[in-house]
């Protein structure tokens, strides 16, 4: 298992420590023990520092193994003198008994020797189980720890002292805490609030200083907690305000949704009514018409011998009216269907569509001289069968209203028109219209010509407009009496749809 990958926060914190730092690791199990100590060594080896590990009795092999399992090449590191695995006899007790003064000399010499060997600093860690077992001179151990902070700060050296909390009595651990500026505990590198500088720790009048320190700590801690509480209540206020405005927004959204649902329901019921209306028109309005036409025909046939010309003409008019009423009903139903059917939109090649419309109308234009000019028409986004109805109406209108011309000129082309829509126009040189009535052109059953001059029900342009509106488009017209007309249709571009979605 890779230590660096597993304990990144701990290692990152340990990497902040280096020469001149004196700190301790208080551990409760093997994992915490080696987790800190081996990482400390590893960082030193990586940095080119000389690393000394002073192991407890009989533990050198264990340490070696722990280092190897974390990926340290112990063989090579010891061969290059970068790593030294030592026992207490080789360090603390090399004179048989423990003496802090000798130790400081030892560290000073070891640091100098490491530097002269070409290492950038000395890094040392020691296990301390032997300390609780007692040895000569150990009554000065805590004095040593306290003074060590000063010693390492003077030398190019860092020291990690390892304490097994389960082994050491609390009063000793208490002194360990007081003598190390930095403590590593349960995987966290902590700035030590309870650290006491050496002159204070070792000096006289300790109790008076302790009282001062504790009182200051109590008061500072209270101040800090107070500030934290203020911050917390401020934050709660902000959160509350946020929650309130979120609730408000929620309510608004819900209200709006309900409104929209109601509008939608209303629209649907209106649509249903319309559909029922159209259905009954389709079934019931036609029957009487059929009867008028049918029985009038029968009358005409049976009474033929006794009818004079005038009566015959009247009967013919009844028949014509019935047939016209039938066309009107048909057109009205078709018109209302456009508003009811669901549109099936896709990209539509308008040029292809217009050419097929023109080809379809061609058989009805026999005997006419018509010059067609169809430009390059764009692609738009819409329902192909509805757009077919639009251009079928516009083109057949153009054909119809140029009937009085010796040569009809019909032009279908597009305008370059903005980023969102395409505009196609149908222009003719026909009888035109008075611009004063341009708004009436698109009304249902609105006609600007007499039935005698030009046949039709007046539903075509209303249908065109309705289909354009259903596409989110527009229609408009320009013209002059006896001087042709131009009808424009604006439809959404394919790209526009993508933005909308």
């Amino acid at each position: 298992m890779n230590l660096a990958a597993q304990r990144t926060p701990l290692i990152a914190a340990l990497e902040q420590l280096g020469p001149h730092d004196h700190f301790c690791s208080i551990y409760e199990n093997r994992e915490e023990h080696y987790g800190v100590a081996i990482a400390f060594m590893q960082i030193g080896l990586d940095r080119g520092e000389k690393c000394i590990y002073i192991a407890d009795d009989g533990m050198v092999g264990d340490v070696r193994q722990a280092m190897q399992s974390e990926g340290i090449d112990v063989e090579r590191a010891t061969a290059s003198k970068a790593l030294v695995l030592a026992t207490k006899e080789q360090a603390y007790l090399r004179h048989g008994s423990f003496n802090p003064d000798w130790m400081f000399t030892f560290w000073e010499e070891a640091t100098q020797s490491a530097m002269s060997e070409g290492f950038s600093a000395l890094r040392a860690t020691g296990e301390t189980e032997w300390v609780v077992r007692g040895a000569r001179g150990l009554e000065r151990w805590m004095e040593y720890e306290s003074r060590l902070t000063h010693a390492v700060s003077e030398n190019n050296c860092s020291a990690l002292c390892q304490y097994n909390r389960r082994l050491f009595p609390p009063e000793l651990i208490l002194d360990v805490i007081r003598t190390h500026p930095v403590v590593v505990y349960r995987g966290t590198v902590c700035r030590n609030l309870y650290y006491v500088p050496p002159d204070e720790f070792l000096g006289t009048n300790q109790e008076e200083r302790e009282v001062e320190r504790l009182l200051t700590n109590i008061q500072e801690r209270e101040d800090v907690e107070h500030a934290l509480r203020d911050q917390l209540s401020e934050r709660k206020k902000v959160e509350e305000a946020l929650r309130l405005s979120r609730d408000e927004l929620d309510t608004k959204v819900k209200e709006r949704t309900a409104e929209l649902r109601k509008i939608n329901d209303d629209l649907q019921s209106v649509n249903k009514e319309l559909e029922a209306f159209a259905y009954s028109v389709s079934h019931d309005l036609r029957a009487p018409l059929r009867h008028i036409a049918g029985f009038t025909e029968l009358l005409l046939k049976d009474a033929e011998p006794v009818l004079d010309d005038k009566s015959r003409r009247h009967i013919t008019k009844i028949l014509q009216s019935a047939n016209r009423m039938d066309s009107l009903v048909d057109d009205l139903l078709a018109f209302s269907r456009i508003g009811r059917v669901e549109t099936q939109k896709t990209t539509v090649n308008l040029e292809q569509l217009v050419r097929s419309v023109v080809a379809e109308i061609a058989p009805d234009t026999q005997g006419r001289r018509i010059v067609w000019r169809i430009g390059a028409l764009p692609i738009c986004y819409g329902d192909p069968s509805l757009l077919q109805v639009v251009f079928s109406n516009l083109v057949s209108n153009a054909v119809k209203f140029t009937r009085t011309r010796e040569q009809a000129n019909i032009e279908i082309d597009s305008l370059n028109h903005g980023p969102n829509e395409v505009v196609v126009f149908v222009r003719d040189n026909g009888v035109g219209f008075d611009m004063n009535y341009k708004d009436k052109l698109f009304g249902v059953f609105q006609r600007l010509h007499s039935q005698d001059a030009f046949e039709g029900t007046g539903i075509g342009l209303a249908t065109v407009q309705r289909i354009a509106h259903r596409h989110g488009g527009r229609v408009w017209a320009e013209g002059a009496i006896d001087n042709g007309a131009t009808f424009y249709v604006a439809l959404p571009k394919p790209e526009k749809r993508k933005q909308d979605e």
């Binding site: 059929r290 009867h291 029985f295 048909d330």
Partner: protein, 150 residues
């Protein structure tokens, strides 16, 4: 015309009945037309019950069926006919005023054999009725169990 087969006309509007019969009469097809005035009576006829309890056995060669009918409408008649073992092969042609696509679709979904919209124009109407009569009462070979008059 060697075989003239029976036509069942289901039509509630007497004027439409008259016009239809006029159309059929012009081609001598009116003799074998049975007229019923609503969906219920149509079913009574087909099942030989009610007023039609005593009629002779056998199905008509075709049923010309209006959709908008009192009591039981055309769709309901059609549905029952298609669900009945003895009637499901009966040729049924819808004869209606409606161009509505949903009527058309529903009729075909229910298994109609033809769908004819009654034209307003009398000549077209007569022509449509005549063609229907000729086809179903003369040309078409009906399923087994239909009445034939020789």
């Amino acid at each position: 015309m060697s075989d003239l087969k029976r036509i069942l006309l289901v039509e509630d509007d007497p004027k439409d009945v008259e016009l239809t019969l006029t159309g059929l009469a012009e081609y001598n097809l009116a003799n074998e037309v049975v007229i019923v005035r609503d969906g219920e009576e149509a079913l009574d006829y087909l099942y030989r019950r009610g007023n039609h309890q005593t009629r002779a056995n056998g199905n008509p060669a075709v049923m010309l069926l209006d959709l908008k009918l009192p009591k039981v409408n055309g769709f309901e008649v059609l549905e029952q006919v298609r669900a009945d073992e003895n009637l499901k092969m009966l040729p049924v042609v819808v004869l209606t005023s409606s161009h509505e696509e949903r009527d058309l679709v529903k009729s075909y979904k229910l298994g109609v054999n033809g769908y004819v919209v009654k034209p307003v124009d009398f000549h077209q109407f007569v022509n449509a009725v005549k063609e229907l009569g000729v086809f179903w009462a003369v040309i078409n070979e009906p399923p087994p169990g239909s009445v034939k008059k020789r």
